[in-house]
């Protein structure tokens, strides 16, 4: 059994892990940058070590500092949380070399899943449905036209070396394809020094659906059902739910089997999330795997009753999944999470600073994961998430109503937060209907703009 865990993270997830450890009798070591000296993860851990100046690169992302802290504190395991070093395979390797248990999958698996095309090939081999595509480089315009014909329009061209939208083009007909192919290739060459492209089916209005997975170190895998994460702005999730209204119990069970088989093949262990796009016909396609605990893990906890962070710790201690989660949990009720960010609710500009008033909602079915407090400071150096507000109801309707009530009682002063934005989303008919996709926020913000214009007249 693990005796002492260093938490290589900050904010609410650091406190989340500290709480789980405390409840299990495991000692905790917080690390912190100079900007986080007065943070709650520092206060509530058994020990705390300053590892560097405010900038993440010099503190939370500083591998030698983190390892060194684990060594001087005598920690026998490291929990990386999400973000920061959580999907850094090198860090996991250094942990292994330093005889410190990394609480996550083996570095080889993290590395494999980190490379998109390898991940795609791996999943395809394991019979996970993937987005139809070229399965490799599309070397010429001619090849591109052929592929597009077999995949069917619309298709999307992507840079092999790419990311962030560059070297990317959506093609809706064979007429426009040649010119777009050239543009994408040139752009990719300029941006990444590599003009090679591949092709995928393009989904106009996809949903983002992801499956939560637990796997032990003895080859046992379990799927804990899905989350619906389509409410995003610029690929940043804002609201997540479990379960998805789109997934039938039968689909859930079938996906569970597919996932079980594929992760066993890969040799995965600990917690992970498999992300899919769902097309307009309800067909889902693998996009990527996240090899860590996720921000939105709480909604799965609320509907399954499984404590995912405790499960991570027990898996890392070598326990068997059958002891941790004896039987496939039923999905009970509906849970929704709002990410409360220190951002302007309309302009989305970051709003660091000192919190003067902080009243957190409570009561039946309301969970708040936060490391903030009245008089606390949101530093400018890190991401803007200050709290997660999670509501659980017997169905989606009750969960939404609960969220509206809880948002109205969540009072933050001194900085801007996304609370008013969430209040508007939860009053929006399209959101409430559940019939949305990842383009929801674009439409919603457009509607808001129109509304404001109309009001100004």
């Amino acid at each position: 059994m693990i005796r002492k865990v260093l938490i290589a993270n900050r904010g609410e997830i650091a406190l989340r892990v500290i709480s789980a450890c405390k409840e299990m009798g495991i000692r905790t070591v917080a690390v912190y940058s100079e900007a986080d000296r007065n943070s709650l993860h520092v206060r509530f851990a058994d020990e705390a070590i300053c590892i560097g100046p405010p900038k993440s690169a010099d503190s939370y992302l500083n591998v030698p500092a983190v390892i060194s802290a684990a060594e001087i504190a005598g920690a026998d395991a490291v929990h990386p949380g999400y973000g920061l070093l959580s999907e850094n395979a090198n860090f996991a390797e250094v942990c292994r070399a330093s005889n410190i248990k990394f609480i996550g999958p083996p570095p080889e698996v993290t590395r494999m899943m980190g490379e998109k095309s390898t991940a795609r090939q791996t999943m395809k081999k394991a019979k996970v449905p993937i987005l139809p595509g070229s399965d490799g480089i599309v070397a010429t315009e001619g090849e591109a036209l052929e592929w597009a014909q077999s995949i069917k329009y619309p298709v999307i061209l992507k840079a092999v070396a790419g990311g962030g939208g560059r070297g990317m083009r959506i093609c809706r007909s064979k007429e426009e394809l040649p010119a777009l192919y050239q543009q994408a290739s040139t752009e990719a060459l300029n941006a990444f020094g590599n003009g090679e492209l591949y092709m995928e089916k393009f989904i106009e209005r996809p949903r983002h659906i992801e499956f939560q997975v637990l796997a032990d170190e003895h080859g046992n895998v379990m799927s804990l059902g899905e989350r619906e994460c389509s409410i995003q702005r610029r690929h940043q999730k804002l609201i997540e739910e479990a379960p998805s209204l789109q997934i039938t119990p039968k689909q859930r069970e079938e996906m569970g089997k597919v996932i079980k088989r594929s992760l066993k093949d890969i040799g995965y262990w600990n917690a992970g999330t498999i992300e899919f796009l769902m097309d307009e016909d309800g067909q889902i396609y693998f996009i990527e795997m996240n090899t860590r605990i996720q921000v939105e893990h709480c909604v799965t906890e609320m509907v399954t009753g499984v404590d995912l962070v405790k499960a991570q710790l027990r898996i890392a201690s070598g326990e068997k999944l059958s002891d941790i989660v004896p039987k496939q949990p039923e999905i009970i009720g509906h849970a929704i999470e709002c990410r409360i960010n220190a951002e302007h609710p309309e302009k989305f500009t970051p709003s660091p600073g000192k919190i003067t008033v902080y009243n957190v909602p409570g009561g039946n079915g309301v969970r708040v994961d936060t490391a903030q407090y009245a008089e606390g400071v949101v530093p400018q150096y890190y991401d803007s998430l200050i709290a997660k507000l999670i509501c659980h109801g017997k169905d989606r309707e009750e969960a939404m109503n609960k969220m509206q009530r809880a948002l109205s009682q969540f009072v933050v002063q001194g900085i801007h937060t996304t609370i008013p934005l969430h209040e508007k989303i939860f009053a929006d008919a399209e959101f409430r209907s559940g019939a949305f996709d990842t383009k929801f926020m674009e439409r919603f913000l457009e509607r808001e703009k129109d509304r404001l214009k109309a009001e100004a007249k």
């Binding site: 060194s68 802290a69 001087i72």
Partner: protein, 174 residues
């Protein structure tokens, strides 16, 4: 009471007030000051936010007892929701230049267990002189002085774990 005294007193009072101090007492052979601010008294021992002990120490330059050496890394920086910095961390060498650890690790005052120490109290050092080793991940990192002067105090013990920014040496700068 001369003007200079008054000015200093003023600075002290302003500082105390800004720091949220409620009562204050100071005694020196030549001067004794005590004061109490008006206002609500919190029941629990709530320390004021953002109390800059180093600044106070500097203001009081000449008289303070020697505080215990900074506790090992093991003690969590006590920081309530009220953002309290523990009073124990009074910098006992205000005015002196402090060489801090640039990394997390284990402090050693000599290159090997049986070797001579790099420096001892009373030594004169130049900037760039190696003062100690901080071991991190099996690497021996030599820490150099960033000031020239006399070593007034070694603030940590050999084998002691140190965190980032932890004071190692006090140097009376030239």
């Amino acid at each position: 009471m001369d003007g200079n005294d008054l000015k200093e007193l003023r600075e002290l009072v302003e500082f105390l007030k800004a720091s949220g101090v409620e009562e204050f007492e100071m005694e020196r052979p030549d001067l004794k000051v005590g004061l109490k601010f008006a206002g609500e008294t919190p029941v629990a021992a709530a320390t004021p936010a953002g109390f800059d002990m180093a600044q106070l120490a500097a203001l009081m330059a000449a008289q303070r007892g020697s505080a215990p050496a900074p506790a090992a890394v093991a003690a969590p920086a006590a920081s309530a929701p009220a953002a309290v910095v523990p009073a124990a961390e009074v910098d006992p060498h205000a005015g002196a230049h402090i060489v801090k650890s640039p990394i997390v690790g284990t402090f050693y005052d000599a290159p090997s267990p049986d070797a001579e120490v790099f420096v001892k109290v009373g030594d004169q050092v130049e900037a760039g002189k190696v003062l100690c080793i901080v071991e991190a991940m099996k690497l021996m990192n030599e820490i150099e002085s960033d000031a020239a002067g006399e070593i007034v105090k070694v603030l940590v013990k050999p084998g002691q774990p140190v965190e980032y920014g932890q004071p190692l040496f006090a140097i009376k700068a030239r």
